[in-house]
Symmetry: D2
Subunit: 396 residues, 4 copies
């Protein structure tokens, strides 16, 4: 791997130079007044990205999985019942994590390619007359299938059922790339990480915590220490961490927030949507299908593409890497061998996206896929050029 070509994995993303420089910053004293002065505005600006004013942002030096663990262990107790839909690898893993922490997970099994079923969730909650369900778990963007779930619809279903369960959302691969509205959607725990929309390396779990969730902390009986919200929130309030913070990542997050807010969140979302749509048009021009069942489910950060019968998607991603030095996402879980994934989030331009599409065409042709070279590229080009004036005028 030469590092010359962009990556098209669904995170970590390509990293802008401005962030790379921050990541290579020399050590500064994390107990110094200067560093202390950085943390509060970072947490405050993160609220803008979560679209919350009443919530609290808590970060940990960990991956997104650590964020899940923090969300669950700080607000629930062993034996608590939680309701979760399983429709992809990441919703599956989250369920597994809950089970290992002693939670009683009621699973709604969905077809991979579907989103979280707001209607079914509503039915279960309505049936839970004893209000035993403490939490509803939703994966906003299922990275394995390229499916975005309608979190607002889940919230409405919860409200319709007048159920007091809290709403937990995995926003790891959506936050800062697709619209996320913590307050409006009544999300109680929103989990994300540094390596997706924030365009940084893995290393920071970022969790949005509602007031209700924060109140639940006192009663939660799951043991925790490293991930304890109270320690972190208490130390943050004094400008610090309960242990050594990842200073460079926090400085990187500062720069990342600068970039996102300078561009404007809505422009960031529009950019992702535009690049994603070009990719989908290419897929369509190839005569292939995406994993997501319906257009309303299409993710703007990752597209999972089903390979034709008789082909193995792992062969394709391996070949693209070996022959052209370009990384795409492999199929995970049920999709192993059946789908490859094109990550199109974070630091990306339509020009970079076209190089990924062109590479896939060559790789598919090499493997005798019934593909016409240039066909997907042309479809994406047409979309990009016909929509660019809007992009230009917005940028101006």
């Amino acid at each position: 791997m030469t590092g010359q070509n962009p990556v098209f994995i669904p995170g970590p993303t390509n990293i802008p130079d401005r962030l790379r420089f921050a990541l290579s910053g020399q050590t500064e004293d994390h107990r110094s007044p200067d560093f202390v002065g950085i943390l509060a505005p970072v947490l405050s600006d993160l609220k803008k990205v979560f679209k919350t004013t009443s919530g609290t942002i808590i970060t940990f030096p960990a991956s997104g999985t650590g964020g899940w663990e923090a969300a669950v262990t700080n607000t629930l107790s062993p034996g608590d019942k939680v309701l979760a839909a399983r429709h992809g690898m990441f919703s599956h893993r989250w369920i597994d994590l809950c089970q290992r922490h002693g939670l009683d997970v009621e699973i709604i099994e969905c077809e991979w390619g579907e989103g979280a079923p707001a209607d079914l969730i509503g039915q279960r909650l309505a049936a839970d007359t004893r209000k035993e369900i403490k939490a509803v778990l939703v994966t906003h963007n299922e990275t394995a299938t390229g499916v975005v779930s309608d979190v607002g619809a889940v919230r409405r279903a919860m409200d319709d059922a007048a159920h007091p369960a809290m709403l937990y959302v995995d926003a790891v691969s959506s936050l800062a790339s697709m619209d996320f509205r913590m307050d409006e959607w009544g999300v109680d725990l929103a989990v994300s990480g540094s390596q997706k929309g924030f365009m940084l390396p893995t290393g920071m779990a970022i969790v949005g915590v509602s007031r209700k969730a924060m109140e639940a902390v006192a009663d939660a009986q799951c043991p925790r220490c490293f991930f304890d919200f109270r320690d972190m929130a208490g130390a943050n309030a004094k400008g610090g961490f309960p242990y050594t913070p990842p200073v460079q990542l926090i400085q990187g997050l500062r720069k990342s927030l600068d970039m996102l807010l300078e561009e404007g969140l809505e422009n960031v979302f529009a950019r992702h949507a535009r690049i994603a749509e070009g990719v989908r048009r290419a897929v369509d021009a190839w005569g292939l299908q995406v994993c997501a069942k319906e257009p309303r489910l299409y993710s703007d950060t990752v597209t999972a593409v089903l390979v034709p019968a008789g082909f193995n998607s792992d062969t394709l991603t391996n070949h693209a890497y070996d022959a052209y030095d370009v990384s795409f996402g492999v199929g995970l879980g049920q999709m192993a061998g059946k789908a490859f994934r094109i990550g199109h989030l974070g630091s990306l331009t339509e020009v970079m996206a076209l190089s990924g599409l062109a590479t896939l065409e060559m790789a598919m042709k090499d493997l005798d896929y019934p593909i016409k070279l240039g066909s997907g590229v042309a479809a994406a080009q047409e979309y990009y050029r016909s929509t660019k004036s809007a992009a230009l005028s917005k940028a101006a």
Copy 2:
């Protein structure tokens, strides 16, 4: 803070350029063959630093505290009795972590400035005829007091008591800077991190696990998922992580290991010892005392210096920062206000150390400490120049 002067906090350390470049590396696919090819040698070379051949190295994207949590939750069960000495802030925090995970911690209270008392540990173990104590916790280098404990002596005491408890060692601020012998000392769980001897930012917990400890994993009942040894060891065996790995930190660790092994571990230790001794001679020339009670307890990575009666060490460290833009470690816990700490680990030269000593002299003089300018510097200079030929010949 301009970033021009070195930091003298006891970690994170000053970062060499070679590592800073690795940390700013562009994203590479963590599932690619190239990345997979990097992980195994990193883990293998880490064994050399732990001085273990039979143990397993497990890393997590977390701080050293996460390493503690991993060590404890993977090998113990709620209610298990563990024996720990408390003689500083970090031994104290570890005890707290154990208690939060439901362990029954038997605490040997020691004066701060003392090391872990091998004799008392031996006595307790001998008295534990029912072998209820599952683990002995030792902080190899207590960063709050600048005290190094004799882990080998603890092991001998354990063996003398013929007690089967496992030996857990916090080697966060000693590993890769001071001699650590996992196998020889019979350490079962050795916890370290990226931000000390490895000269990297915070972000990776590094744990050495003995065969005996690995066997204990199956029976351990503490809930864990993010920090589960089995998931990590299993994924590592295939060249990956159970979740997204911190690619740049792992590449940084690769370069860090290259640097340590190129210099030679024993040379690294000798360099730390030499710089530390110069610092201690300066302290002595100032007429001040270190926190460590005896020379055999002196740490080679951090020196905690007691301020004279009537002075407040926080005022000194704040002044050094405000007036001279240099960071030193503050006094922690019982030592708050009573001691300041000079970190002298990781990427440091005697020339850099002298600039720290010179800064302290100016800051102390400014605050009317009874200090003669140049006195400590001169003592350190004399030591450094009289020992440099050995350093030179070793380098040659």
Copy 3:
């Protein structure tokens, strides 16, 4: 300009990270033994790139134009007659430089798009029975037209005429990307720079000097000081420069040579040829023509593409920049408005090249060029994929 997309100007090229790190290196003492130890091997390895064993390499902290000035002023005297072909902007500028230094330039005017005419040069030399012509100037790769000249043929013509004139070659945009054979072709002065095949920023003129040329230095009457070969060669022999050297660029050159020699010069040339041919196939698929008159003149580092009548190439390059954030070379001199240039030298992959071609297609379509989206991309894809196995087997 976001810096995310590759540039397609014919130099400076995209810079590999390995070189970017070297360029950001901290200051080191240029009079230190360590730096002195670096210079000699750099000069020695440069000889391999020039393919000379008997020549001397002399570098200056300047651009390629400075290299021309050095070549001319160190070996010629005011009033000396030199013979030069003018067939592009860079051959034109070189002639201008000679005239400003008082040389009597006999110019062979050629059509832009032609190479240096070995036959006409031979005729002029044959006619110069008094041997007044002191030098023949050839632009190996005319960057303005994308034309490579046959230097070996010029040498043969000179030999056939049994003329003692020296052969001066501008190899700025060919060296380290296309085959260059200083000794075999009997080149006396070969001028290059850091910002093309060496993939570095502008800042170092690199000149190959034959023994014969070096002997001419003593008699050359053109005044010079900054560019004096004698000062530089003398200081180089002691490991230094006659003034402060550009340390980071020299360290960058060290890394660049490492990269070139690790890949193998012939592989480097083959890579450039393959990428260039894909670009030319795209141009052909678009129904456009290149500036170079014949295939034997095609440059492997830059392709100048003639726009159809009625179109202005500046409008195209401006639009590509404004709308898609991608830089291409503008038409220069006679080609202003008539041709755009695609730089495909230095650090580039076929995947990056495809993104440039895709961008051009969108930009041309936007401006109503009679272009079919995807057509050029497909032609290049087909070429790249059908030739990749050779590339792969060579890389293996």
Copy 4:
């Protein structure tokens, strides 16, 4: 050389991270609107540093020596008489450069350690009744001896003699570190470079040109092309260069100007003066003498220290490098073996300066100089601490 310790050579200086990042910037198109937009403000802000409103700033991709050559060849003709004082290595080299370009240099020989003699210059000019002297050459800061000359006094002497000669000043190692007043002092040609007060690598000659000097360009007969003011000024006016510009250095200069102007030029000068005075107090405490004959001649960017009889300064600088990995300036020309030089310009703090002084003390003691360890450090410490409040209040 590990790169951990600061350098104390009198340029290139230690480079701040902010500039190092700019230097490693990816290639951007030098003909693009964005780059074009950068050049004009850089040139405009450079005027502030030269303290000129009526002059023009012209830069070249070259070293300071290239700047000399540009100044001379653009404004003078072979045979022109120029008057120059020789009192150090750099004034000597400038004279040599003039002679090589055919100028008739009338030399005032001064003792090394003296400045340019305004009185003698005035006498010569007064005696030049035929006004044959076209230029007076003054080295503002003689880097070889650490002597600053009074340029304003030279201007007054010129005015008193009512002589029309132009005033040429070498400000390479003074500009942006010590006060320089191009307009007030009536300087016609002021030559500097990127690697001193601008804290960048070597690679850019920076020349201030008065209106009078610019008018002289038309008549100047020295041949030049690479360094032609007309080409550069003409291209600059359109936002470009007549050849490929050193993009990263220009971006670095942008950041350097930002840093200098943010700190405030007068604060920059005060910082240099304060650090320099501490160094001189150390030298005095050692019982050694500086090369500069009088306090009014003391340079604030470099101090040349005479070694006691019987000692060789080269041995000292070599030993400091070999034993302690710290670079100091060697004695040049007449001072070879007799003086070492401490560079204290550019990116430097008093803390860094103290580490250099401490190193020199160790090195001198090792070589049996009659030096008391800590003595110079203490003198500098006392000065730094007693003057820091002013520095702090200024910074506030």
